[in-house]
């Protein structure tokens, strides 16, 4: 009995997700166990007595064989239980639910800037190849690639917050607006809209605009260069020449023909950029005191809080997988050959 094509596709997709996730879990688990870090010491501190140390060692299940520990680990992850943070004693899932919306909010606004500015810039640079617009686009991208993000972030803070006072400083909101709106999504912009509290919205927006613009700039640099490259390839194709010979307007040639054909490639580029932003930009989060998943995982790693590291890594891995699937779905929408 053969399965209907849609069911077969769904099963294959789910199977590939499961295998990828299992591989990811295996690797993260092994890394967590072979790293020369003592998670017990991270909890009890350097002055603890041996009896306290031994008690915590057993409490963490570290006295059990590795394979048994891995089995427990898989079972816990399946139930979305990443364990308790070794350091702050809270469930890791709860911590991630708190920090991930902060990153999601920042990354989404960042990729928005990246797409809205990067794609037209790339198209324009391709269409006006060699012109001053192309040169500017090149310089913008080059600066975006090469400037250290911490320096750019600090300069942005100094100028727009310290000197001009146009934007809010480090942190997600000012001290007057901490915990003012109820947390529904964890994204303060969204929560303030839901609560119709426009003062909080304005304050939160003034805090997010600079770090998101900074992240957007880095995405813009990548997206615009890739867009330019894809467009140049299309614009030198025979079908574009034919369209021009037939007297089609330049607008139609560029946007209705050439651009239409780079959408699939562009989706991959944008999805990857977005995934990178969702992974969390550690330096941006540190400079702007943004409690996101990047700094969460980094702090956890430096503190040997392996439950938190593994939980964060699994979530980031899951994001990459889901964005890949989403890209595949969009391919099918934009490219009939992929259906």
């Amino acid at each position: 009995m053969s399965l209907p094509p849609w069911l077969k596709t769904t099963l294959v997709t789910l199977g590939s997700i499961a295998v990828t996730m299992l591989g990811l879990l295996f690797i993260t688990f092994i890394i967590g166990r072979v790293m020369p870090i003592d998670p017990v010491l991270a909890i009890v501190g350097e002055r603890a007595s041996q009896s306290t140390y031994d008690a915590v060692f057993q409490e963490l299940g570290l006295d059990k064989p590795l394979i048994v520990q891995f089995g427990y680990y898989i079972w816990d992850v399946v139930r979305l239980d990443f364990g308790t943070s070794l350091l702050n004693a809270r469930p890791v899932a709860e911590d991630i639910a708190r920090v991930f919306p902060a990153t999601l909010e920042l990354a989404t606004l960042g990729i928005f800037f990246g797409i809205v500015l990067g794609v037209p810039l790339g198209v324009l640079a391709a269409v006006r190849k060699g012109s001053w617009i192309d040169q500017i686009a090149r310089v913008v991208a080059l600066v975006g690639y090469s400037m250290p993000i911490f320096w750019l972030g600090l300069m942005g803070l100094l100028i727009f917050y310290g000197i001009l006072g146009w934007v809010g400083g480090p942190g997600r909101v000012g001290i007057f607006y901490v915990d003012v709106v109820p947390s529904v999504t964890g994204m303060i912009l969204v929560d303030s809209i839901l609560d119709r509290n426009w003062d909080v919205f304005k304050d939160a927006f003034s805090h997010i605009i600079l770090p998101s613009a900074l992240l957007g700039y880095y995405s813009l640099a990548y997206i615009s260069r890739m867009t330019r490259s894809f467009m140049l390839e299309q614009l030198s194709s025979e079908y574009v020449t034919t369209a021009r010979v037939k007297g089609m307007s330049e607008w139609d040639v560029v946007w209705k023909h050439a651009f239409k054909n780079i959408r699939v490639q562009l989706i991959t580029v944008i999805a990857l950029s977005y995934a990178n932003l969702l992974e969390g930009s550690v330096l941006t989060e540190i400079i702007f005191s943004w409690p996101g998943i990047g700094s969460y995982i980094t702090t956890a790693l430096l503190s040997a809080d392996m439950n938190a590291v593994l939980g964060g890594t699994v979530v980031v891995g899951l994001i990459f997988i889901l964005l890949n699937i989403f890209s595949d779905l969009l391919y099918k929408v934009f490219d009939p050959r992929a259906r």
Binding site: S49, A55, F150, L158, G165, I287
Partner: protein, 531 residues
């Protein structure tokens, strides 16, 4: 962020500030104190478990104790808090406290001797990391019902032997001496945990503040206790924001969005000190920076080699360069401001003397590994030492690792040399004497990982007995002299090269008054602050 990046960012900010002025700064409300601080070390708020710096700050402001250290008069030592007075039995083993009447917890429940007894018993029974501060007096989970007990308005604690009363009372000023509200805590008990899980993120104290929220790596918010027995604090709300980056803390301070920046690096301290409306407050803290030589190493165990290493440290060079303003030279195990502290610093940077001592010991072509935790200042100290040692013919290989990596090897007695920091646990000289100069059993089997002397395989040669004698000495002045004598011998014979004592530099808005980080002996206090 590495030193170059740190310098670059500070220089960039400095340059920009020099050509422009900040926009007119905002001000925090007059009844609110906003502090930027690194609080990622907080793991729990439960005073029976909390043992980190930032966590101790919270505990000090949320919980009261039997006796406390007054932030406006730290030199006075312990003072009565919820214990109005106390008497010591003739045999010196039992202290009977009389509780202050009419004091309530933030819940409205009265503070009773029963609560104080419960709090100390609970800390012993839970046996979390700081429990040793109490169990060193012979309290065990099995005997606490007898050794710590309440009777009406009286609390009696009976130690296993006679100790200096000052020693016992000093320990009770530590975080673990906090009095928790028994009724509230036990109402939140789960599976016999004595409310431990609940108290990790909630408070049940009688202090000047109560905990509103703790968001890990984000913020701590406290609100004042209007019914506080000592009077409601002027700062009705205290917000401690986790700001990791020094330059960001400085920007927030100079803009007026915070009142206090607690983690500015030397470059930003220098920059902020020139800013309008900002003042710098220095306080000596308890952290000591030291090198420790493993006495299992055949060469490092030679007395001349131990001496030679003490001349291979460029004390002044480091203090005046990358440690500027952050550390002062100190070569004793008791930090300044501690009872019995010594200001004798006999060693100086002297390569020739070190060479002569090494030659006397017959040491040639020595190659050693030094373990350093990945903190910038420690790495730089390690590199300075490496350079000096090279001039004396010693090859030093620096191994940099995370705290857990390096500490694991240090505790297992595996490192040749450890470069680290040590902070006291409670405001009594025994806290450091009992780890630097005390090691009753030097065998591997003893596994006394909590003792620094043991970690370095050092048989203290008589100092252990001297430490034991000092801890039971009732006369304060005699006790002070005993610690001076111990330290004099320690300086000459020990494998520890104590180098520096930390100075905490806080940058404050100039309207902030009475700020105290607690010096070397305790933690930061907020209730006496005014603006």
């Amino acid at each position: 962020m590495n030193a170059f990046n740190r310098l670059l960012s500070s220089a960039a900010i400095g340059l920009a500030v020099s050509v422009s002025s900040f926009a007119a700064h905002a001000e925090t409300p007059a009844n609110m104190l906003v502090i930027a601080h690194r609080i990622d070390d907080i793991t729990t708020i439960d005073p029976a478990e909390s043992f980190e710096f930032a966590g101790s700050d919270i505990s000090r402001n949320v919980y009261d104790r039997l006796v406390y250290l007054d932030p406006t008069d730290l030199e006075a030592g312990y003072k009565p808090q919820h214990a109005e007075s106390w008497e010591v039995s003739e045999d010196g083993r039992t202290i009977t406290f009389t509780m202050r009447e009419g004091v309530t917890f933030q819940s409205g429940n009265p503070v009773r001797a029963e609560d104080a007894a419960f709090s100390l018993q609970r800390a012993v029974i839970l046996d979390k990391t700081p429990a040793f501060i109490l169990t060193q007096f012979g309290f065990t989970p099995d005997n606490v019902a007898e050794t710590i007990k309440a009777d009406g308005n009286k609390l009696m604690i009976t130690t296993d032997q006679k100790y200096a009363t000052s020693f016992v009372l000093n320990c009770l000023t530590a975080t673990i001496g906090a009095i928790v509200d028994k009724e509230t805590v036990m109402a939140n008990e789960v599976d016999g945990d004595m409310g431990n899980e609940w108290l990790k993120t909630n408070s049940a104290g009688s202090g000047p503040y109560k905990l509103d929220s703790w968001k890990p790596n984000e913020s701590v918010t406290l609100s004042s206790n209007p019914d506080y027995y000592g009077g409601a604090p002027a700062m009705e709300r205290v917000i401690v924001r986790h700001v990791l980056e020094s330059a960001s803390q400085r920007l927030l301070l100079e803009r007026g969005d915070i009142d206090i920046a607690r983690n500015l690096n030397p470059e930003d301290i220098a920059g902020a000190s020139a800013a309008e409306g900002v003042v710098i407050a220095d306080e000596l803290k308890g952290r000591l920076m030291y090198l420790a030589l493993n006495q299992k190493h055949p060469e490092l165990s030679k007395p001349e080699v131990r001496q030679a290493f003490k001349y291979l440290i460029d004390y002044e060079g480091m203090r005046d360069s990358f440690l500027k303003g952050q550390y002062t030279i100190h070569q004793n195990f008791l930090p300044q401001t501690y009872l019995g502290a010594s200001d004798e610093n006999p060693f100086s940077y002297d390569i020739e003397k070190a060479k002569a001592l090494l030659a006397e010991a017959g040491v040639e072509d020595l190659e050693i590994e030094i373990g350093v935790r990945e903190a910038q200042e420690r790495i730089e100290i390690g590199q300075s030492f490496q350079n000096a040692a090279a001039q004396a013919g010693i090859t030093v290989n620096i191994t940099v690792g995370t705290a857990a990596q390096i500490l694991g090897r240090y505790r297992a007695r595996e490192l040749d040399v450890y470069l680290g920091a040590w902070g006291p646990d409670y405001p009594d000289p025994q806290t450091n004497a009992g780890t630097f100069a005390y090691n009753p059993d030097n065998s591997d089997e003893a596994n006394a990982t909590g003792l620094l002397a043991w970690r370095n395989s050092w048989d203290t040669g008589g100092l252990t007995e001297m430490v034991e004698a000092a801890v039971t000495e009732g006369d304060r002045d005699t006790r002070v002299q005993m610690y001076q004598d111990i330290q004099a011998q320690f300086r000459e014979t020990s494998p520890f090269v104590v180098m520096f004592q930390q100075i905490e530099q806080s940058a404050l808005r100039d309207n902030v008054m009475n700020w105290s980080t607690g010096q070397a002996v305790t933690s930061a206090a907020y209730w006496q602050v005014t603006k």
